[in-house]
């Protein structure tokens, strides 16, 4: 059942990424819905489940853009895995903690992407990364509130 909710969340976020993300930029920063959903859902999944979720998010994101899937799959799967692993730190899942986790992991995931894909204009990429991290951090709070009931996160 949990898997079904994750699939549904990925689908909804793929639609938001495709339709809404380019139109809700704030000071040039735009959210990364697929990375966000893989991080937030991974907070309530096992590490292997999170890696699969991240893998799927990477495939969807790369496919929608028409890009090389490898960089997206690797960076998203690793980010989701680290998100699931971070629960071992046993921090309390307050709204602030979720926001900070999402922002930090967004930076982590995009840096991984940068290392593997090597985009041109690294300064611009890093600027975008900071903006996206803040945006994702803010959006993580309502998304976690929506998803936590269905995902029922467990602390290992």
């Amino acid at each position: 059942m949990k898997g079904l909710w994750v699939v549904l969340a990925l689908w909804v976020c793929a639609i938001l990424e495709r339709s809404l993300a380019p139109n809700i930029t704030v000071l040039g920063a735009r959210p990364d819905f697929l990375m966000l959903v893989s991080i937030v859902t991974s907070l309530g999944l096992s590490r292997s489940g999170a890696a699969v979720t991240g893998f799927a998010a990477g495939v969807i994101q790369g496919a929608l853009i028409g890009a090389n899937l490898t960089h997206y799959v690797f960076s998203r799967a690793m980010t989701a895995f680290v998100a699931a692993w971070s629960r071992q730190l046993r921090f309390e899942m307050s709204p602030l903690a979720v926001a900070v986790t999402a922002a930090v992991l967004t930076v982590f995931g995009r840096l991984l992407f940068m290392v593997t894909a090597g985009p041109k204009g690294i300064a611009g990429f890093l600027g975008d990364t900071m903006g996206t991290a803040i945006y994702n951090g803010v959006l993580a709070i309502p998304m976690y509130a929506l998803l936590r009931r269905v995902l029922n996160p467990v602390v290992r």
Binding site: W11, A14, R18, L20, G66, K120
Partner: protein, 245 residues
Amino acid sequence: MQTTSRMAGRTDFVSGVVKTTVDPVALPIATVAQSFHDFRLGLFKSGSLIEENRRLRALAQAAELYGGRLQALETELEEVRKLAKFAESVGKIRIPARVVHYAPLENRLTINAGSDRLVRQGLPVIAGEGLVGIVQTVDAKTAQVLLLSSPPPFKIGAKVLRDPPAFGLLHGEAADRLSVEFMEANTPIENGDWVVTSGFSEQIPANIPIGRIVQVRRDEEFGTRVAQVFPAVQIGRIRDVVVLR
């Protein structure tokens, strides 16, 4: 699998499945979201938009005056081409499309015109200011456009508007920087020169603006000359494009 499909101008199987699942819902929402976005921008920029609207009306009226003359000249030119047994000129049919997704990191954008509107791989995509990119893969209702800012191996023929013109190969370096390589180290080019398409292609017509040269340097190692070009089209701002077929 992905590279093979891309070379053939098709979307690979996995990407096809994802797009089929997401696009039917996402594209209508994107249109509505864009309208809201435009409305929001309109509220803050109404003054400049009114001024721009006046200017565009004046330009449209001026263009109308020349429309008939242009049509007559095009017909005449086509007849001359037929008489001289030249190949049919390209870029006659214009397919309007809207940008539905822009991925700056991947140097790609998605437009809402696909094989249903006879878009095919390799066709040039232009905006008001000049060349945007080349169609890379085509689906039924959408197409992926590879932007001019794409790094090699993507290259297109370019021409510097001088007398005589200088020809070179253009590729992307960054979103706001393109590069043209000239085989001769002494090619006479200068900052501020306009770069346009060379026309040495079956699908890309000549003289579509690309950008202006902002820097010229000599590559001593290879004995070539390289020009940095600032693109005419600011990709992040465009919403409407035209595919030339």
